[in-house]
């Protein structure tokens, strides 16, 4: 198959040309949280495999997760998961053809951001209730 010829066509304006907006940032955050969760899944699989190996190894892994650094990573993971999940719900709403009105879009972005923070705190309050 012949290589397509590259003509000198004008490029469409890209990210650096636009004023940062909340909806744009939320779109970028959706992707960043997705990538973060992708690599963070190693931790979940690590935890499961450790539980299948031995008491000693499982305690070592638990020690990592209950260390302040482990908690910090898990807190970030929780927020990323909830942010990405709420963002996903927005996308599913848009898939039905609804919610494209600019005021609705802006409102959804704010709810997504605020909701992700509030729900993360709630999950951690419950978590500390289960295990201080």
């Amino acid at each position: 198959m012949p290589e397509p010829k590259s003509a000198a066509r004008p490029l469409s304006p890209h990210l650096q040309i636009y004023r940062p907006m909340l909806t744009m940032m939320m779109s970028i955050m959706h992707r960043i949280t997705g990538v973060g969760l992708y690599f963070g899944m190693v931790l979940l699989v690590w935890w499961f495999t450790a539980a299948a190996v031995s008491d000693g190894y499982f305690e070592l892994v638990q020690g990592f997760f209950f260390h302040w650094f482990g908690r910090l990573v898990l807190f970030g993971f929780t927020w990323a998961l909830i942010h990405h999940a709420l963002g996903g719900l927005r996308h599913l709403l848009w898939d039905t053809g609804r919610g494209f009105d600019l005021r609705v879009v802006e409102w959804l972005a704010r709810v997504n951001l605020a909701g992700s923070i509030i729900l993360t705190v709630i999950v951690w309050v419950i978590g500390y209730g289960v295990k201080p």
Partner: protein, 126 residues
Amino acid sequence: MSMRTPYKQTEGLGSAKSGTGHFWQQRMTAVANIPLVLFLAYFLIRHLGAARGEIVASLQNPFTAIFLVLALVSILWHMRLGMQTVIEDYVHGHGLRLACLMLNGFFTTALGVAAFYAIFKMSFGV
């Protein structure tokens, strides 16, 4: 030398070399993830700081083990599709892109097999 016309060679193939399958599977796993991730989160919070024996005991319940495996299948499938899109957007060299797409498949498959092995081992209690 192929006797096919250039049109025939590209028919139905987007930049991802497939049609709407990617989009559909991405949405299907997204919807499945809603209840499955909620279940996974419930399971994890319930077992915060639990001893290994408690987790093994919980996994002896077939429903718990099955729903955890379903959750991991849906999550890992969704992850692979998402990362494929990210790679196709940002990795431009043909060879490097193919390598990244392949690693994406290896990574998500390896995570899945490791997790299933662990869950099945505890669930079957052997």
